[in-house]
């Protein structure tokens, strides 16, 4: 398909990396008694090993649906998702931070972080070492034995992130992870995430409704159309790393991209408003 061909990133660093994840013409229809709606209408997307890909799109355009298909919670109505060359995505290879905070309330923070390690039969001592290391990284070592209700929203979200990261998944998938947080906490966690990413060189698929965040974090930005979701455009983000998120507005490339993609997104949001 010609569309997917020019969606391959043009960023020079990523050019020669091999593709780790590939969506090909993914279509998703939901049907209920009230009729059927098309959530995704032919998504083709190629994600490179080590790439930080951010996705923005109007609310309800199918962003969460796309991720749910990737991790196997939904099956596509047509099309294919290929991870590491295998047609069935290995669930154990994906770390998923869901749209809503999802720590298990009956487990302490440490036990939550160790949950995926338990499922992989990693011995207790080793689990303890890994969880301690990650809790340290996100400054939560003192709260290891706290239950989720004793943590703030920002703390819980840090817990969700390291739980998805600590078992060394092939790719990390995040669905508006900082959505409900205040601006200060958000900035803090964005920096933490970039720090973790710089250390681990993970492939990241990051969904957000915040354009600033999408540009600040990503190597490449994909814009989705209003429902039914298709890929509207894809933009390499040529801003050198390490990035200072708070001062990004001083960067010309950042400003140019923000205004360009801002217009595109506004267009789609209008389309959606017209539809309803």
């Amino acid at each position: 398909m010609s569309q997917s061909a020019d969606l391959v990133t043009s960023s020079s660093v990523l050019q020669d990396r091999h593709s780790i994840l590939k969506f090909t013409d993914v279509i998703k229809k939901y049907s209920s008694e009230r009729g059927s709606i098309v959530a995704l209408n032919g998504i083709s997307l190629d994600v490179k090993e080590g790439e930080f890909l951010t996705i923005v799109g109007p609310s309800g355009c199918g962003k969460s649906t796309l991720l749910n298909i990737l991790v196997g919670l939904e099956t596509p109505s047509a099309g294919a998702v290929v991870l590491d060359g295998a047609n069935t995505v290995d669930r154990k290879a994906v770390g998923y931070v869901m749209q809503n905070d999802n720590l298990y309330p009956w487990r302490t923070l440490r036990e939550n972080v160790e949950f995926p390690l338990e499922l992989r039969n990693i011995p207790a001592a080793e689990r303890r070492r890994i969880s301690a290391r990650y809790l340290e990284k996100v400054h939560l070592a003192d709260f290891a034995d706290a239950y989720p209700y004793e943590l703030s929203g920002g703390m819980r979200q840090r817990g969700n992130i390291i739980r998805a990261l600590c078992f060394s998944p092939r790719i990390l998938v995040m669905d508006e992870p900082f959505g409900p947080l205040d601006a200060q906490t958000r900035l803090l966690l964005q920096n933490l995430l970039l720090g973790l990413w710089a250390e681990e060189k993970k492939t990241v698929l990051f969904i957000t409704h915040d354009l600033h965040e999408a540009i600040a974090l990503g190597d490449r930005l994909v814009v989705l159309t209003a429902r039914p979701g298709r890929i509207k455009s894809s933009h390499p983000i040529d801003i050198p790393r390490p990035r200072n998120i708070r001062h990004l507005h001083e960067n010309a490339a950042y400003r140019a991209l923000l205004s360009k993609v801002g217009d595109e997104l506004a267009e789609e949001i209008q389309v959606q408003a017209g539809v309803h």
Binding site: M98, P105, L119, Y147, Y149
Partner: protein
């Protein structure tokens, strides 16, 4: 109640050594008991005839004699034994049935009307039949207790498992849990509050079952004892039996509350919740 709980921290700051909330509750309860029993003691013989309502001092003396010179422990163990046996059996099988049926939509759809019908039978109507089938010893009482406890536990377990948040199971699936791990590490802990509620609710039912069984036909037990004393117009003996039963229920409930605090430590206690529990 909530107002009191919210006011408490401020009160602590101004008054010097304020009582802890728990001891405050305890002392108020004690005061309540003293007032009620004090009034009873006073009213009996002045406002009402002692013959009808007995008297706390008489009841205490009766219980003392009953324990040290009478057949108290024999009667208690008969009732308590059938209660515990039926309760245990009902809890285990109710849990099992709740788990199995919540996992199989087909089985629960098929069995639903039958379970409703069976649970709808008034147990008082069943009790005489159990006497015909199982005699007048402990067995019919155990089975009667079982038929009450089973359904309470079953319905609560079933509802608990069915209401486990989809997000929790989805997450476990994504993390790679198999069916067994999903059940052990997610579904069971997530439905534990429901299950515990069922167990707590079923305790009074267990006692009711045991006593009904003894009322219908028995050779021993607290229920039998109460019936006998009442037929002799000995209100002191009847009241003594009732008070012992109240102790049984309160003791079992407190034991469970301790267990619950341990197992459900992860639940936040709201101001309203602390005012209600314990």
């Amino acid at each position: 109640m909530s107002i009191e709980a919210i006011d408490l921290p401020m009160a602590k700051k101004t008054e010097a050594p304020a009582l802890s909330y728990r001891s405050k509750v305890g002392l108020t309860r004690l005061a309540l008991v003293l007032v009620v029993f004090g009034f009873w003691e006073f009213a009996s013989g002045s406002l009402f005839s002692t013959f009808w309502i007995s008297k706390p001092s008489l009841i205490a003396a009766y219980i003392f004699k009953w324990i040290f010179y009478g057949d108290f422990f024999y009667q208690l163990s008969f009732t308590f034994g059938s209660m515990i046996a039926g309760f245990t059996l009902g809890t285990v099988l109710g849990l099992l049935a709740g788990v199995v049926l919540s996992r199989s939509q087909f089985a629960s759809d098929v069995l639903d009307p039958f379970l409703v019908a069976i649970n709808g039978i008034p147990r008082v109507a069943l009790a005489p039949l159990f006497v015909v089938w199982f005699g007048i010893d402990m067995l019919p009482k155990i089975i009667l207790v079982f038929t009450l406890v089973f359904f309470v536990i079953f319905y609560n377990t079933y509802a608990g498992i069915k209401s486990v948040d989809r997000r929790f199971t989805d997450l476990a699936f994504v993390m790679g849990a198999n069916a067994n791990e999903l059940f052990r590490k997610v579904i069971l802990p997530a439905s534990l509050p429901h299950i515990f509620l069922g167990i707590k609710l079923s305790i009074p039912y267990a006692l009711i079952g045991a006593i009904i069984g003894e009322f219908v036909a028995s050779s021993a037990g607290l229920g039998w004892k109460i019936q006998m004393e009442t037929s002799l117009y000995n209100t002191t003996g009847t009241m003594a039996g009732l008070i012992v039963m109240m102790f049984i229920v309160v003791a079992m409930n407190s034991m469970l509350a301790v267990m619950e605090r341990q197992l459900l430590r992860w639940q936040p206690t709201s101001r309203f919740a602390t005012a209600q529990s314990q």
